[in-house]
Amino acid sequence: MKATINGRAHELPGELTVAALLELLGSPTSGVAVARNDRVVRHSEYSSDVVREGDRLEIIQAVAGG
């Protein structure tokens, strides 16, 4: 299944939840926001929100510099 992650095309094993996607990518869940098709997925929905074919994902790292 194809999906775009941070602007790059990726081949994913199939439909998976946002939580599973982060695990697959080895990303922590804290300090991160995930947007699917330009909408941020609520953290409470990481285990239920499903990534589908053609989705555009942004994995956004919180930064604190100022």
Partner: protein, 348 residues
């Protein structure tokens, strides 16, 4: 009309650094009636690359006070409140309450959560900007009906993965872009014009010269602004810089020389940070190589573990403890805190 409205507005700028410098200049020039500036820090020469409100003649002086001097020259009609304090749990709500909105121009996660929480609890908008290396983020939290920082990031990242601008570097001009954008959002909110970044996060990528936007909503499970909020007041323990340093003995920088009579300094700074200078006899193992080079350490020896500012060393202490090392002390505030007390130790 707009000008009169601005003249009666009060804005609190928290952090007079890379973001605060441009934000303050545009807010003062626009004629905001009262501007409070919170910063307990002194101007350092490593700041000048991005903190353009300061000059070489200001080194060592308090940032809030210097900023007010500069801004008076720019617009003497504004009332300025230099607040040379750390924005902390015991003053956060009082300070925020005195102004109509706040700009978060700080440089650490714990303060960002504190600003967000104080603003939501006091019903003030939090105009947020943050930068790191080549990336910036801008949003408006805590506006009536809008989401907050915790809706977007319920938790801060683990401390070892979060170098500061001083450690990781930042493109100075990016601070200008993001800080000026914060001023623009603040003016829009005060004037009630346009479409502020409420429920929208702007992502600035200065390398690709691209700005993207994602939308986010109030999270009904948010610990602060959700339907069953767990955070109803500001409790100091919730905003300690680094989460539970459970039982790691800490050493104050002024006691380092004494401690090193019986212990070895384990310096875990990355090579690019070591321009600061080093201490004779120190063992240098960058945090990124610690796993691979642990065999060079003697578990019977005493070590004082230090990095540049004290975040990576805390991580290193935890990791070494897991590996069975017991005689470890952590240098609080890192080698910067030590350097501040030793003129011969050179800043870069």
């Amino acid at each position: 009309m707009g000008q009169e409205r601005l003249a009666s507005a009060r804005v609190l700028v928290i952090g007079a650094g890379g973001l605060g410098s441009p934000a303050l200049q545009y807010l003062a020039a626009a004629g905001v009636g009262r501007i409070g500036i919170v910063d307990d820090d002194a101007v350092d020469d490593t700041n000048l690359q991005r903190q353009t409100i300061f000059s070489t003649g200001d080194l060592g002086r308090n940032k809030a006070e210097v900023a007010v001097e500069r801004l008076r020259g720019l617009n003497p009609l504004v009332a300025y409140d230099p607040i040379a304090l750390r924005f902390a749990a015991d003053n956060a709500r009082e300070l925020v309450r005195l102004y109509d909105l706040a700009l978060d121009c700080t440089d650490r996660f714990s303060t960002r959560y504190l600003i967000n929480d104080a603003c939501v609890l006091e019903g003030r908008a939090d105009v947020y900007g943050s930068i790191f290396r080549f990336d910036g983020q801008v949003s408006v939290f805590g506006a009536a009906g809008g989401p907050c920082y915790r809706c977007l990031y319920p938790e801060a990242p683990p401390p070892e993965s979060t170098p500061t601008c001083a450690e990781g570097g930042v493109l100075g001009a990016l601070a200008g872009i993001v800080g000026a954008w914060q001023a623009s959002e603040a003016l829009k909110v005060l004037l009630g014009i346009g479409d502020p970044l409420i429920g929208r996060l702007a992502l600035v990528d200065s390398l690709l010269a691209r700005v993207r936007e994602v939308r986010f909503e109030r999270d009904r499970d948010c610990a602060l602004c959700g339907d069953h909020a767990a955070i109803v007041s500001i409790e100091r323990e919730a905003y300690e810089g680094t989460p539970p340093a459970t039982g790691v003995p800490e050493l104050d920088a002024e006691r380092l020389d004494d401690a090193l009579r019986e212990a070895i300094l384990l310096d875990v700074r990355e090579p690019h940070e070591a321009v600061l200078g080093s201490i004779d006899g120190a063992l240098r193992i960058p945090a990124s190589q610690l796993e691979a080079r642990m065999s060079e350490l003697d578990s019977a020896a005493r070590y004082v573990v230090a990095c540049r500012v004290g975040a990576k060393s805390l991580w290193a202490v935890r990791r070494l403890r897991e590996a069975g090392f017991t005689r470890l002390t952590h240098l609080r505030g890192g080698l910067l805190a030590y350097a501040a007390r030793h003129a011969e130790f050179e800043f870069f």
